[in-house]
Amino acid sequence: MTQGSKKRTAQKSAFAVHRDLFVAFFRSGIVSFGGGPSGIPLIEAEVVKRYQWMTLEEFGDLVALANALPGPINTKLAGYVGWKVKGFTGLFAALSAVILPTVVLMIALLGVLVRFNDQRWVRGMTQAVLPVVGVLMAQLTWKFMKNAKKGLGWTISLILVGISFVLMEVLHVHPAILIALTLLIVLIKPSKKAGDSK
């Protein structure tokens, strides 16, 4: 599957690939209301499902690491995917698709419409979109749960989900620390054992 998508990308002209990158991140950026994270399921729909630039596993690693690093999440995802698909020009195509449209809107409209957000219909829009984002996020969660099950089995997956939940939500351990710890554990763990259980 990865090879097929690579082939398809290779067959396309450089222009077409940059256009695809721009379109993918423009589309997922312009409909991601309610803050950066709301864009994650939309980006997954473009990057994994539609254009197949990555597998779900790669996307998962990307989201986890991007979440562990500071700064806005959407631009990290866009920048990395663009870079992976087409190097630096790809990075710029994807990044500008995320940043430019809304910044231009903001600069163009702000002088005129500062009271815009008091309008009832604007509030209505935000209210109506929140449950949709919730559903999208839940669907993506479920996808990764199935994915975890495939690799680890139900029991271990659920135990690990339980442990991470307690650590992050009850004890408020920062996800970055948790991910760094996982990395350490994997590195220290003798590789023979890892090979055995694989």
Partner: protein, 176 residues
């Protein structure tokens, strides 16, 4: 040097803002209002409120707008660069290292073990969106919209962008 100041004002929140864009907003305010006095608190919160009604990440909207206000198009570019570049470079470097050891069993293990963490992170985000929704519009509209959009996306394979556009229209017409 105004461009250097702009760079610093957005570099620091960008690198300290753990938890994505919204987490860096108070840090940006601290620099823009408290440190450099480019805006008053009221101006800043007006910009922030307006930025929140537009789609896309909030941190880059703030950086682009404030940079433009202070020093024109180039100021906007500097502020965006400071917001986006540092963490992106780190991310690319990290993932490059991982990719180099892609076939090592250790990296496979890492990918596997990280998955439950992602499940919890995404699950909590989902929960937070539902909680915010219930607070903003009440339970009934939330459950209705969630159910309809779930059926549309899951059964009829409608692209999420269209479902969101539909929700925006319905929200503008009937809610608020």
């Amino acid at each position: 040097m105004i461009f250097w100041q702009l760079f610093l004002a957005f570099f620091i929140p960008g690198i300290l803002g753990y938890g994505g864009g919204p987490a860096s907003i108070p840090l940006i305010e601290n620099e823009v209002v408290g440190h450099y006095h480019w805006m008053t608190v009221t101006e800043f919160s007006n910009v922030l409120a307006f930025g929140n009604t537009l789609p896309g990440p909030i941190a880059t909207k703030m950086a682009g707008y404030i940079g433009y206000e202070i020093a024109g198009v180039f100021g906007s570019l500097v502020a965006e660069f400071a917001t986006v570049a540092p963490s992106l470079i780190l991310l690319i470097a990290l993932l490059r290292i991982l990719a180099r050891f892609k076939d090592s069993p250790k990296v496979n293990w890492l990918t596997l073990l990280i998955r439950p963490i992602i499940v919890v992170m995404l699950g909590m985000m989902a929960y937070n969106f539902f909680a915010a929704s219930a607070q903003a519009s009440g339970w009934l509209p939330m459950i209705l919209i969630a159910a309809v959009s779930f059926v549309l996306m899951e059964r009829f394979r409608v692209h999420p962008a269209f479902v969101i556009a539909g929700a925006l229209l319905i929200g503008a017409a009937f809610m608020g």
